[in-house]
């Protein structure tokens, strides 16, 4: 395994680490994995998860770049002011352009956790070089069963009723949240629009892995919820969904991390990757 540090972007303001297999282990024609920042954390990921994943992928012949978007970790913001979302998408594109131009990689798999998953979704839609993505605690919407899963265990708990009554006396927005009308933690966008976007990726033959944890239980709380959320989606076998209800949002426990990393590496190896 080789790790090298690169500076790229129009102002050389972005920093990333390219992890590549030794020449003997390298597999040609595979996409490179681009690991995005999880929230405000720098490129190593929560509990160094991205570093560990990069090194495991390299052992299986797969290259990856973990990098900081502008203003996070060790990367500077570009001097030209853009909205936060456009700046993030521009940085992801810069990373792909750089890898294509200087390292002859032509297709990419994006991996992101939390807002990193949201950024991966947006970037994948805009760039046909993205042939796959891993979304960790990505998009989620409550379904009828989500309410049952959420409230049924609470029916017999006195404290839950007390909390409910207390919130009924609170401002109306909190009441809406309590009864589940506003359950999303992040602004995911309208469900049907997101479904159409996912369908666009599938129609492009992108391979998609969605992994949800118990840490996302405020918007995803049972296995099978993905299918219920996106009933009209024609996945064509391109989408795999995993649910780890015992894991927390940042995979704090080693066993949970191990489960995830092993699964991601296996998933990558099991898919058929088209050139972009």
């Amino acid at each position: 395994m080789k790790e090298r540090i690169y500076e790229f972007g129009p102002e050389l303001n972005l920093i990333g680490i390219l992890t590549e297999p030794e020449a003997a282990d390298a597999r040609t024609g595979l996409p490179v994995v681009l690991m995005l920042n999880a929230g405000l954390l720098h490129r190593i990921g929560p509990h160094r998860m991205s570093v560990e994943l990069a090194r495991r992928l390299a052992a299986r012949g797969i290259s990856s770049l973990r990098f900081d978007i502008g203003g996070r970790g060790d990367s500077d913001s570009a001097s030209q002011a853009e909205s936060d979302e456009s700046a993030v998408l521009a940085d992801i594109k810069d990373a792909m352009d750089y890898l294509e131009r200087r390292h002859d990689f032509h297709s990419f798999v994006l991996l992101g956790l939390c807002t990193g998953a949201d950024n991966a979704h947006s970037a994948a839609l805009r760039d046909s070089r993205v042939v796959g993505a891993v979304f960790l605690d990505g998009h989620g919407y409550w379904t009828r069963r989500s309410y049952i899963e959420h409230y049924l265990p609470r029916v017999w708990r006195a404290r839950a009723w007390l909390n409910f009554l207390r919130r009924c006396l609170a401002p109306s927005r909190q009441v809406l949240e309590e009864i589940g009308v506003e359950r999303q933690r992040r602004p995911f966008g309208p469900r049907l629009e997101v479904q159409r976007e996912i369908q666009t990726l599938v129609d492009r033959n992108a391979q998609l892995l969605y992994v949800y944890t118990g840490g996302a239980s405020s918007y995803f709380n049972y296995a099978g919820q993905f299918n219920d959320m996106f009933r009209g989606l024609d996945a064509l076998g391109n989408i795999e969904v995993l649910y780890y209800p015992n894991a927390d949002h940042t995979y704090t426990f080693a066993g949970d991390r191990e489960l995830l990393l092993a699964r991601v590496v296996d998933w990558f190896g099991s898919r058929v990757w088209n050139a972009s």
Partner: protein, 260 residues
Amino acid sequence: MTAFHFGPAEEPLFGVYTPPRASVPRDAAIVLCAPIGLEYMRTHYAIRLLAIQLAAMGFHVLRFDYHGIGDSSAEVGVGQFDIWLDDVALAVRELVDISGVQAPALVGLRMGALLAVEALAGRGLRAKGLVLWEPVVAGREYLAVLEHMNAQMIAARDVPPRPTDDLLGARYPVDLRAAIQGIHLEKRVCNLDVSSAALVVSEDRPEYGVLLKEMRNRWPDAMYRSMDDPIAWDNLKAAFDARLTGPIVRAVAEAAESLT
């Protein structure tokens, strides 16, 4: 700012060198020693901000990741405490080579303060100044707090996790815990080959009072700055919060400036 690998080619360390701003260069250099474990994640941005501020004051600055942490090579394993002390010594030598400054100052945050002191005591290092920033004073208490928060996370799960030597997502092998447990920072500062020292903390605490007393036995003019803005290192909800406030970063930079 230059990110690079240094140290042994087979197991390199990741470092970031920030050169002094050309308009105000000084003949002075500073190595920043970061915390370990979850606190490393939580403070990365603050350490970066500090490096930028110190460089703006004219210092050569090197921040780095210890072996098994961040982007450096290897995993945390047996003998890790001694490896980390070697890493501090390696970083000091690297900055001497880069800057030409023979005795850089050290700034250590939390466990990084403890590692800086232990490396100064046990690796024959000479430093112009030493800033202890919110230091871990008693290793036993530091571990007890981590163990308590880890137990809280385990208790919140429906299914207990597989037993490991992890605390809040980072490995603390038995021998590392033993090494940390036996440390009392106030007993280690008396013989250091350091010209001057400062203690910068978020709030007054009894253990800082004890430490400051020992520091002033060694350096009568040792500087003390308390921000009266507590940081909840022992609060699980805050433990995943990635922020440290700007004022304490500025106070640390000013303390370092006053020593060199």
